[in-house]
């Protein structure tokens, strides 16, 4: 089954795993009924066709794409930084159990603080700018990745570590060849948990501070009572979340095929 283009194979698998299209029926019926029943101009429940017009209006005014780009860049960059820092710190903490025990309560408390609570702190310390937005996203997304990596690094199969010793691998090679592949599933799981958090926090910062992005566009439309734009942007954000989730699922499947997860009980 190993085709020349594995991603294509996984896209096909992903499509096959999608639930039956018949399941879209409630959504279609709801939107259809909304469209048919809402013929007049309603300030609160504009019909779906108006949502599209609202979005088109935004795109014509040239504000939609820069906002979409700003949100996407913040999200991707923030996630990349969170993965890099979280994985490094998690490996460090997991490899030295004493350090883990010592840092444990501090990490647990920091994790318990809800991510949105960081936003006002960051505004106070860093002011209203892109750097602040990025920092908040990184701080919110880092915990699941860090803690998952740490607990997986702690449980790397002892036999694998013996292998490293037999081959007299340097610390760097041991990390690269033994530890990193065995904690990969945990890192991916951490990212999966961090994804929605990162999206929510990005939007929240944009809504609270009106720094350029989809969230700012949405709250601006709400303040001007442009209800069709608000609904249109809501749909856009929903599609965005769906796309990000599904793309990540494909990436995850490809990476896990290359480095399949090893369980504790497995014999080598």
């Amino acid at each position: 089954m190993r085709s020349a283009r594995p991603w294509l194979h996984y896209v096909r698998l992903g499509v096959a795993a999608l639930p039956s299209a018949r399941g879209l029926l409630p959504l279609v019926v709801l939107l259809g009924a909304w469209q048919l029943l809402q013929t007049g101009r309603s300030a609160y429940f504009p019909p779906p066709s108006d949502w599209w017009n609202g979005l088109m209006l935004l795109s014509k005014s040239g504000r939609l794409y820069p906002a979409l780009l700003a949100t996407t860049i913040t999200l991707l960059l923030g996630l990349a930084l969170a993965v890099a820092i979280g994985t490094a710190a998690g490996l460090f903490i997991g490899v030295f159990p004493r350090f883990r025990r010592a840092a444990g309560p501090l990490l647990e408390f920091l994790r318990a603080v809800p991510p949105p609570a960081i936003v006002p702190v960051a505004i106070l310390f860093m002011g209203y700018d892109e750097r602040m937005k990025l920092t908040v996203v990184v701080l919110a997304a880092i915990w699941p990745i860090l803690l998952n990596t740490a607990s997986a690094a702690e449980r790397v199969h002892p036999l694998l570590l013996d292998v490293a010793r037999s081959f007299r691998l340097s610390a760097l090679d041991r990390m690269r060849l033994i530890v990193l592949p065995s904690v990969l599933p945990a890192i991916l799981l951490g990212i999966r948990v961090a994804l929605p958090v990162a999206i929510v926090v990005t939007l929240l910062v944009e809504i609270l501070t009106s720094i350029e992005g989809i969230g700012a566009l949405m709250i601006g439309a709400q303040r001007n009572f442009q209800s069709s734009q608000v609904y249109g942007l809501l749909v856009l954000i929903g599609l965005f979340g769906l796309l990000v989730n599904n793309v990540f699922a494909v990436v995850e499947a490809i990476l896990l095929r290359r480095w399949p997860p090893k369980t504790q009980g497995e014999n080598f």
């Binding site: 639930p19 399941g23 409630p26 959504l27 318990a112 991510p115 949105p116 929240l204």
Partner: protein
């Protein structure tokens, strides 16, 4: 013996690190080594907490946020568990709605805030919309998963005993599906707190979330941090309470702590 075990169970190095970080923070701020205008020392945060408590603000804000969490979580549980049962028991219902759920599920909760603001203005209703929708999904999906994965043999047992459909559901399916439902309830409770705080920041000027934003705008970082610490402690307490409740209700939950 019990006392010795308790002392051994306390994570001494961890506690030492916590105390050390607090002391170092205090020392750095007091000595002016780190000259951030808005970084309060831990002692100032504690004083701020005392100030809020004396003024009665803290108690009323905690009460507001907790009641919002309670209402939102309960509504999401009732909706999620009943819809989850419906979808779990009927393959037809599943076939004709799963795709819709998969599309709606990744919708970030905060994105509903502007829509809710448009419809309800700054009010508790807005807070409820933002809180209930995202909490609904883990409850619904866990319940549905729990109900569909009840072993066929258990259904056969029900048939052997000639149980009515209602009895089969109440006496066989419900207990068997309980662990994933409880896990969903726990995830949902944590989410509900986060979302209530978010909603109070953007949609309903009341409670702890609004307190954080209000003190940030009033340039009172000591009070802001006092609110943040409070939210963190409530999160820890809710999670611990939920775990204790789950273990009391379901002896088997102890083994399932690792979650689904």
């Amino acid at each position: 013996m019990a006392k010795g075990r308790l002392i051994a169970r306390i994570n001494w190095p961890g506690t030492a690190v916590l105390v050390f970080v607090a002391l170092a923070w205090e020392a750095i701020v007091r000595s002016g080594l780190l000259d951030y205008e808005y970084l309060p020392a831990p002692s100032a945060i504690a004083r701020g907490w005392g100030e809020l408590a004396r003024e009665g603000l803290l108690a009323s804000d905690i009460a507001h946020t907790l009641s919002a969490v309670a209402i939102g979580w309960t509504a999401a549980m009732v909706l999620g568990v009943s819809l989850g049962f419906l979808l779990g028991l009927s393959a037809t219902a599943r076939r004709y709605s799963l795709a819709s759920i998969e599309i709606l599920r990744p919708m970030p909760g905060v994105a509903f805030a502007p829509v809710a603001l448009l419809l309800f203005g700054f009010s508790l209703k807005t807070e409820m919309v933002v809180t209930i929708l995202p909490v609904l999904w883990p409850v619904l999906v866990n319940t549905m998963g729990g109900v569909t994965s009840v072993h066929q043999r258990l259904h056969d047992v029900g048939r052997t005993f000639r149980l009515s459909r209602r009895d089969t559901i109440l006496r066989i399916v419900l207990p068997a599906a309980m662990p994933p439902i409880v896990a969903g309830a726990r995830i949902g409770l944590g989410l509900a707190l986060v979302l209530a705080v978010i909603a109070e920041m953007v949609g309903n000027p009341a409670g702890l979330g609004y307190g954080i934003v209000r003190e940030q705008q009033a340039l009172r970082p000591d009070l802001m941090f006092a609110y943040i610490v409070t939210v963190g402690l409530i999160g820890i307490a809710l999670n611990a309470g939920m775990l204790a409740l789950a273990e009391a209700l379901l002896p088997s939950f102890r083994q399932l702590r690792g979650e689904p």
